[in-house]
Point group: C3
Chain length 469, copies 3
């Protein structure tokens, strides 16, 4: 019994389809990784220091992992998740690793299991399944390897065959790590992404101070609407100078607005003076998506919208541990009504690229594929977050392709902060797509030569093109 790293992983069991899937995959498995959207830390590439212990690298920062353990009664403290008030939590990496290993069976049937088995086998050479008995042995292996020179970030980046990776930074970030990467002379291509939530969302912690700071950094007067917009323009240009080709926006809904300039100005004034109400905060976020789209039309940055997550659903957890603790829950999300103001404004632009994501799969066939299948400015982001999984990716293809085709989609995003899992994630996406294409060929819905071309497009070409990388 070995880890789940069979060469036929995720391929159909019927012989003919399997053979086709293998062929398609053989043609693309060695393609470089294009990672146009993710959350790895640019500091790693800048400083190129060894990664910390196995638990700090693989368990503690991974909300997929600790949310599942927490759902089955393991305390976050016992997994080393830091508390906001500094109350002590488990700091012994080995203990955390053991707890994880004991509960690894919980992940059966989940993508986390596939990613981790892939990482253990392909990165650390560990084929023996992880469980309570093997925990210590595997911990030692990984800990040792992480000290090696060829397990440092840049070495892994190269070994992973990453052609380009995008990180995501807030609007106020000084991009110093990106500067350091650039100045280091290292040739790995790491670009940033402009993520202005903290200066766009009035509900964001410290919003008002953030706007002051935005004014200071840019020299623009963020006390008025025109100056505030100019500040965005400046920051976007600054981010572009560090390779950014995209912006990213995480909003509770996909709502957009297209106010007159006067109305937008008045709304901004109320927001800026803190005299707005909940409805106006919503409206401001909605308006800002359209403003960002208009700026994208001008400066060519691709606009990404990641809507529909109810962040920090449990106040108990939020108060004790803060953000990003696995308590972000998808909600039903409307696109047809919500995106209309933005689409009325810029949806027919042929040189603008807006990539929309969803956590609500019911919108794939009903809303997103029909919208992306007609508006030139719109593209569909890949299956996202909870749906970044074999079944989720399969449903994405089955529910979007017939209306939007393949060419209104944008390839794969790993969207991860778990650097070691990047090859696993891309590999799984490639396999799922090859399996899907193999089915189309077997059912004579696609010719084999077309499937080969598509396999490459889905694995590589579309991401480069859609993200202008």
């Amino acid at each position: 019994m070995v880890a789940l790293t069979d060469p036929d992983l995720l391929f159909p069991s019927e012989a003919h389809s399997r053979s086709l899937a293998r062929n398609l995959y053989a043609g693309i498995k060695a393609l470089p990784i294009v990672s146009p959207h993710g959350h790895t830390d640019p500091r790693w590439y800048a400083q190129n220091e060894p990664f910390p212990d196995p638990a700090q690298l693989l368990i503690v920062p991974d909300h997929y992992i600790f949310r599942m353990l927490f759902s089955q009664g393991v305390r976050l403290e016992d997994l080393g998740v830091p508390t906001l008030d500094g109350a002590p939590v488990e700091s012994d990496g080995r203990m955390i690793w053991r707890r994880f290993a004991e509960h690894y069976y919980l992940f059966r049937g989940t993508p986390t299991r596939l990613w981790l088995d892939h990482v253990l086998a392909h990165l650390f050479g560990i084929e023996e399944p992880l469980n309570a008995e093997t925990a210590d042995r595997h911990y030692d292996t990984i800990a040792t390897l992480l000290q090696w020179e060829n397990f440092r970030p840049r070495a892994l980046f190269e070994r992973f065959n990453i052609e380009v990776i995008a990180t995501t930074e807030g609007a106020l970030d000084d991009l110093k790590w990106h500067k350091m990467i650039r100045e280091s002379g290292w040739e790995g291509r790491v670009v940033t992404t402009y993520r202005p939530d903290a200066v766009v969302d009035p509900d964001f912690e410290g919003f008002s101070t953030n706007l002051d700071r935005l004014g200071e950094i840019t020299g623009c007067d963020t006390g008025n609407w025109a100056g505030y917009l100019d500040a965005h323009r400046q920051r976007r240009a600054f981010f572009k100078s560090f390779g950014a080709t995209a912006t990213d926006h995480g909003h509770p809904t996909a709502e957009t607005a297209n106010l007159s300039d006067a109305a937008a100005q008045e709304l901004f004034n109320r927001i800026r003076h803190g005299s707005e109400d909940e409805r106006e905060r919503k409206l401001f976020r909605a308006q800002m998506l359209t403003e960002m789209a208009k700026m994208s039309r001008d400066d060519g940055l691709v606009l990404q919208i990641h809507p529909g997550s109810w962040r920090n659903h449990s106040p108990g957890i939020f108060q004790k541990f803060g953000r990003d603790k696995g308590f972000d829950i998808p909600t039903r999300t409307d696109y047809v009504t919500a995106l209309k103001p933005l689409l009325d404004c810029v949806g027919l632009e042929r040189d603008l690229s807006i990539i929309v994501f969803t956590l609500d799969e019911s919108s794939y066939a009903r809303e997103l594929a029909p919208l992306a299948g007609v508006y030139p400015a719109l593209r569909l982001g890949p299956a996202w977050w909870f749906h970044d999984s074999p079944e989720g990716m399969r449903r994405f293809r089955e529910m979007t392709t017939e209306t939007a085709g393949f060419y209104n989609t944008v390839g794969f995003n790993d969207d991860t902060r778990a650097f070691p899992s990047i090859p696993a994630r891309h590999d799984i996406a490639r396999r799922v797509d090859c399996a899907f294409l193999a089915r189309l060929v077997c059912e004579h819905r696609l010719r084999e030569d077309e499937a080969h071309e598509l396999a490459k497009d889905l694995a590589y070409t579309l991401a480069k093109k859609a993200y202008r990388l």
Copy 2:
């Protein structure tokens, strides 16, 4: 490499299921086509003139096609789509055809691709894939054939083995083409369908004038509620005299109402005097569905409800090009609450037949199958529009059969204005159903003899019975 017309198209690749699917299909592939709902032009059958050039026949009127090309940056003008103000558009069929051929790869994985390859191969004998290089050659072949006597509408009707086809006409239509067909002595069975949206929906262009016209045509006083209803009754009878067995209603939602006669009368008066508000326009549409259902109870016409499309989503396109330009987007649609007033009124009738469609697949298993699985007056229309596709039809069966069975569904609708594609569409529906039945047999959920009987019912019998044809 040839077109996608393998004899095993859409059948599963596993040998036993494939063999079963083949057997089932062999038993039904030659059955006549019953097309109980569609949008072909009765003028074609009446005048029996040659079809226009390949582009005008196959590209320009097909919103599936031009929406996809538009989504990838091709201008509608360059595809020959006429502008409202008469601004010039491409008129050279060959140029339009070339543009289409260059972009034909965009349709990989879509039903349009399957339909078109089917048409090219089976109707025009073209096996060589369509692309930029073959475009001219194929254009010439098609253009030549379209001039032949045996490619005229009636000849194709007969070659297609169409037993009966329904067209759809507005309430004010004089049905002159239907009259001409009848008087021509030609034996092809072409019936009309009563589609009164223009005199039922206060938001329809020219609604008030339409009602005046309805009064003139019928001699009823459409200035009052009773006269207005009588006018409908007269027109329904007139349509019946031209073979209509059904009415059809395209509403933004499935909302119905069941007002008292006094309230309905008052509502009509407000609508008729243009003093109503948005809420009342909605209520009027809702009430009219119930009125139509009551008339159907009396005159036996089958009632079809096609709700949930947000028509003309882009005002820019609507202003420039008008209706039906690929910008109709599905919306989330409720049936359980919306249909209740109508069902409370006539849902238990055993001789009434109401066929409901949806663009919101999330309603299949949750709402529509449970409703149709108990209300005698209710039947489920087939997978519609964006869902009229292999994956869409498969999901329809998987999500409705276990609760509604097969016998609360009504067979296939091609619902198309693309006459040459009718055999392709029916063929694909038959293949998908045979593949689904084969799976049930292989999993021992259905006996083979039953599957044969069902294959015939789904391909032929149910449509005739449900539509009373």
Copy 3:
């Protein structure tokens, strides 16, 4: 041609997956049945009298069956469904059975067909398909067998290898049949479940009288909030003394509330005096779910929430035939907002178990799996009601496993009042799970040894554990 009882029923047709599914199933098919939630009548086990005639046993009480026949024009009266006013209905079991047999083809592709063929074959030894011609013969066979000693309830209970079964009783029930079972010395384990809808839902028939009665039974003053809660506590303890390990709550929505004690008390007073409005009735139901959860935290009873059914959708049927006549229709159901007050209150408890069900499959991947995959108090009930079917159960696994894993689910519920069908229902669930696991193994997403362990967990262990049986 025989009934649908092939040994490979519901297994995939591809040889390798089929062989794996067979192996997995072989390891669990003989496991005892654990039935933690259902609606069989405890009187059967108490009195152990012969079951009535075949129609009264298998047709008349089964809403899956009569709803389908009704949808195709068969009158409920002709199926022996009793009227509220005592108007005569068909009383001849043979006639009812014949009508059913004539229409048995309607159930092709439905779970009812699978269950009934299973019952006919495995329980009554009938392999010949049921139809108009065989109806009488099969009726006689069944009628005869039902008179035999070894077809009485207790004998079947034992033959079915039921380890434990839970019935469901209202809060005011005296549990006399459970008492009688206990006193009889029979060793079959039959436990009750606390279902307090009639004293929790102000819209329930006789709500006020029910509360008076609750006061009488418990000696608590149900005229005030504290006394009312105490009465619940007493009844819960009483139910526990008859083996109850769970409560069950059927609400129109999943809405919960967490009012201050003062606000709850005031709300109760208004409700108790009948001076509340619709909004307050809703709020009271919402509050009571949270109260029940708090009591569960104290007394350890598992809380089940079955929301989202629009009961008695047709007033015509409700007035003539009453409740549970097949007119309960699923509605779109929100969980993320609705459950938040309850989860804020008790969702992080590790010793509390709340099992949530849904009739809205769109919530599986979007809401329920993400919630159950992080809140320790939350578990997912199996595919319910209309979704308790092969396709429904498959979709449940495909849409919940990747986010919630297998271990946040609770095994199978038969949820039935159709006692003879219990082995069929569990058998089908086991087969579907084995087929799903086989697919995971074939795609190398799970090791075979793990699949064997999971097959047992899903068929047996999880139900015992989750329901504390």
